[in-house]
C-alpha cells in the first residue's frame, strides 16, 4: 500500500523529533554533497547534475525536484565509516599502561535520500564491517534510512547492470519516489520496517491514487533504460581470476594516477590503516583508524618493501577485488554501479570500460 506525502518538511521534523541527526543531499561548493540538514529546505530542490568521466557539473533544473540528481562526491560511508575515527587510548601507569576503548559514538543518524546503489553499498559494507563490535556496527544499528528510487540517472550510472537500482530496496525504513510536476513535488512512500511505519504515522499523509503509483513505477522503470553504461554480462569473478596477466593492466596503468580517488569515493571500499599518536610527554597514546587505499604504495608494505610496486598491480588489485575476489571474501560483488569512481577519477578512468576491455582481451586470447 502506497502513501502520498506532500512535502518533506514534516519528515525531517519528525526525524529530528526522534533525536536523529538528519543527513541528506545539499548544494555546497559546486556539488551536491551529503551534510547534516537542519531543515528540508536545505535539500537541493531544483538542482540537477551532469556527470561524465572525470567531470561533474551542477545545473538548474526546469522543475523543483529535490532528488533530480545522481550520486555526488561523497557516499554515506563518510558517516557510517568516517575517514578518521578513534579506536582507543592508552595511558602510562607506574607499572605499565591502561587501555581505554574510545567512548561509543552515540550519534543516531537518519539518512535522507539513499539511492538504490547506495542502499546496496551499505549492505555490502555491513557484510564487511558490521560483524565487528565497533563504531560502524553501533552507528549502523541506530541508523534510520529514507531511500529514494532513482528516476534520473547520470551518464556515469550503471546500477541497472549490477542489479542495485534504479528502484531502491530492500533495506530501508521508508522508501520514497519523487513525483515532480513543475514546481510541485510529491512523494510516494513505501514502508520497509516497523520503525518506518511508526514514523510515517506521525506524518500528514494521504492514500496514493493508483495512477500516481503507476506513474512512479513507470518513471523508475524508465530510468533503467536511460543508463548508457553497464558492466559486461557474465561471470566477472572468473574473468578477473583469469586476467592477471592481461595487457590491459599496462594500458590503464599508463593513464592511472595512483591518486586513490576512486577508492575514496567508492561507497563500498572499506580499507583502513591505523595511526598511533602520542602526546609530547609520552604518557598518553591514541590509536586512530583512517581510510586507506590499495593505491597507496605502503598499503602492501612488508619489511623490505611493498608487494605491489607498480600501478599496474595496484589498479589490478582494485578492479579485481571490487568485481572478482569480493565474491570470494564476502559472497557478492563489491560494485553497486553508482558510477562515482568514473566521475571522480581526475582522468576519467571508467571501470565499465576497463572491464569490457578485459572481456575483449580474454575473448581474443
Amino acid at each position: 500500500m502506497s502513501t502520498l506525502l506532500r512535502s518533506l518538511g514534516p519528515l525531517v521534523r519528525a526525524l529530528h523529533g526522534q533525536g536523529y541527526r538528519v543527513v541528506g543531499p545539499t548544494v555546497r561548493d559546486g556539488a551536491i554533497v551529503l551534510a547534516e540538514l537542519d531543515r528540508a529546505d536545505a535539500l537541493p530542490y531544483g538542482w540537477g547534475v551532469e556527470a561524465a568521466p572525470g567531470r561533474y557539473r551542477l545545473h538548474r533544473r526546469a522543475d523543483a525536484a529535490a532528488f533530480g540528481h545522481a550520486a555526488g562526491p561523497q557516499s554515506w560511508k563518510a558517516f557510517l565509516h568516517p575517514p578518521r575515527s578513534p579506536q582507543w587510548t592508552a595511558d602510562r601507569t607506574a607499572d605499565g599502561f591502561t587501555v581505554t576503548e574510545a567512548p561509543p559514538d552515540s550519534t543516531r543518524y537518519a539518512f535522507l535520500g539513499v539511492r538504490g546503489c547506495d542502499l546496496r553499498a551499505i549492505a555490502v559494507q555491513d557484510r564487511v564491517l558490521g560483524g565487528a563490535d565497533g563504531g560502524y556496527a553501533r552507528r549502523r544499528r541506530e541508523l534510520f534510512i529514507v531511500a529514494v528510487s532513482c528516476t534520473e540517472p547520470a551518464d556515469t550510472c550503471f546500477c541497472a547492470s549490477t542489479g542495485c537500482g534504479p528502484a531502491a530496496g530492500p533495506g530501508y525504513d521508508l522508501g520514497l519516489t519523487e513525483l515532480v510536476d513543475g514546481d510541485r513535488v510529491r512523494y510516494l512512500v513505501e514502508v520497509g520496517t516497523p520503525a518506518g511505519l511508526e514514523l510515517l504515522t506521525q506524518l500528514p499523509t494521504e492514500p496514493a491514487p493508483v495512477d500516481l503509483v503507476e506513474e512512479a513505477a513507470a518513471a523508475v522503470a524508465a530510468a533503467a533504460t536511460k543508463m548508457s553504461r553497464a558492466l559486461p554480462e557474465g561471470d566477472l569473478r572468473d574473468l578477473l581470476a583469469g586476467s592477471h596477466d592481461a595487457a590491459r593492466w599496462d594500458d590503464v596503468a599508463a593513464r592511472c594516477l595512483s591518486c586513490g580517488n576512486c577508492t575514496m569515493v567508492c561507497p563500498t571500499c572499506f580499507c583502513t590503516t591505523v595511526e598511533d599518536v602520542t602526546d609530547v610527554a609520552g604518557e598518553h597514546a591514541e590509536r586512530w583508524l583512517r581510510w586507506d587505499s590499495c593505491f597507496d604504495l605502503d598499503f602492501s608494505y612488508l619489511h623490505g618493501g611493498p608487494v605491489r610496486t607498480s600501478t599496474r598491480s595496484r589498479y589490478r588489485q582494485w578492479l579485481t577485488h571490487k568485481l572478482g575476489t569480493w565474491h570470494d571474501q564476502f559472497g557478492e560483488s563489491g560494485c553497486v554501479g553508482c558510477g562515482r569512481c568514473i566521475a571522480w577519477c581526475p582522468v576519467g578512468i571508467d571501470i565499465t570500460e576497463e572491464t569490457r576491455a578485459l572481456v575483449t582481451e580474454a575473448e581474443e586470447a
Binding site: 580517488n261 595511526e275 610496486t309
Partner: protein
C-alpha cells in the same frame, strides 16, 4: 633532563619558515622543550651546546662551498638528520638557478657580481649526505613536525605518508575542484601532508609538498592540457618550489 635527547636546528639557504614552524607550535613548544634539550637553535636562543646531537633538523638548501662542508660536519655530529622543507629536501625555489645560467642570475640582482661567490646550484641535503627523514612542504606542516618529534621520542615511525594529496582532500570532504569546476590541480601527483589545503580554499594544489611516492606526471599533464593550461603554465607550475623533485620524477618505474 640529563638524559633528555638533544636537538639542533640548522639553517642553510631558506626563508626561515620551516624552523619557524617549531616556534609556531604554541601549544606544544614548552612541553617539547621540557622533553628535548634544545641544544642549538640560534633563532630561539643564544645558548648553544656542543654536539653530538641526537636529532638535527636541517632547513634550507646547499648553495655555497661553505655549505657543503657544513652539511658534512652536521651529519657527523648528528645521530638522526631530518631535512625539513622543500629547500632541504628538494633544493627549494632557489634551485631554479640550476636550470638557468647562474652568472646571469647574479648580474640581474647585483650591481657588482664580482663580490659574489655561490655555487651554481641549489641542492638538497640528501645530495651531499645521507638523510634519515624528510619532512616535505613549502613550508612543512606543523602537525607533521610535532608528530615527527613525538614519534622520535616514543620510538615510533613518524606518520609521513607518501600518497597523494587526494587522499587527504577526500578525507576532508572537499569536493574535487578539477572534476566539479575544471580547476587544474596537482593534488594527484603531490605528496600528502598539508591536509589538502589549497583545494579546500578553492585553489588547485601547486605541488608545494613535492611529488608523491608514486606519480604519473605525464598522465596528469595530459589532463592539465585538457583543462586549458598552456605549456608555459604547466612548465611553471612544476618548476616552482620542488623543481628538482618533480624533474627527478617519482613516476612508476614500471611504466
Amino acid at each position: 633532563m640529563g638524559t633528555a635527547p638533544t636537538l639542533a636546528v640548522w639553517k642553510f639557504a631558506s626563508c626561515d619558515g620551516c624552523q619557524l614552524s617549531l616556534l609556531d607550535c604554541e601549544d606544544e613548544l614548552l612541553a617539547i622543550a621540557g622533553r628535548i634539550r634544545i641544544a642549538h637553535f640560534p633563532e630561539a636562543s643564544r645558548a648553544t651546546v656542543e654536539g653530538p646531537y641526537d636529532v638535527s633538523l636541517v632547513e634550507g638548501s646547499v648553495t655555497t662551498p661553505g655549505d657543503v662542508a657544513r652539511i658534512h660536519r652536521i651529519r657527523e655530529q648528528s645521530r638522526l638528520l631530518v631535512a625539513i622543507g622543500a629547500c632541504a629536501t628538494a633544493g627549494g625555489i632557489q634551485a631554479l638557478r640550476n636550470f638557468a645560467d647562474a652568472d646571469q642570475f647574479r648580474s640581474v640582482v647585483y650591481a657588482r657580481p664580482e663580490y659574489l661567490s655561490t655555487l651554481d646550484t641549489s641542492t638538497p641535503a640528501s645530495a651531499h649526505v645521507p638523510v634519515d627523514l624528510e619532512l616535505h612542504g613549502c613550508p612543512i606542516d606543523r602537525r607533521q613536525l610535532v608528530d615527527t618529534l613525538t614519534a622520535l621520542l616514543a620510538g615510533r615511525k613518524p606518520d609521513l605518508p607518501g600518497h597523494s594529496v587526494c587522499f587527504e582532500c577526500k578525507a576532508r570532504g572537499t569536493t574535487c575542484i578539477t572534476v566539479a569546476r575544471g580547476v587544474p590541480c596537482l593534488g594527484p601527483v603531490t605528496r600528502a601532508g598539508c591536509g589538502a589545503l589549497c583545494p579546500a580554499y578553492g585553489r588547485g594544489c601547486f605541488g608545494c609538498f613535492g611529488p608523491a611516492a608514486v606519480t604519473n606526471t605525464p598522465a596528469l599533464v595530459d589532463r592539465l592540457r585538457e583543462l586549458d593550461m598552456t605549456e608555459t603554465d604547466i612548465g611553471r607550475v612544476f618548476r616552482t618550489f620542488n623543481v628538482l623533485a618533480f624533474a627527478g620524477g617519482g613516476d612508476d618505474p614500471s611504466q
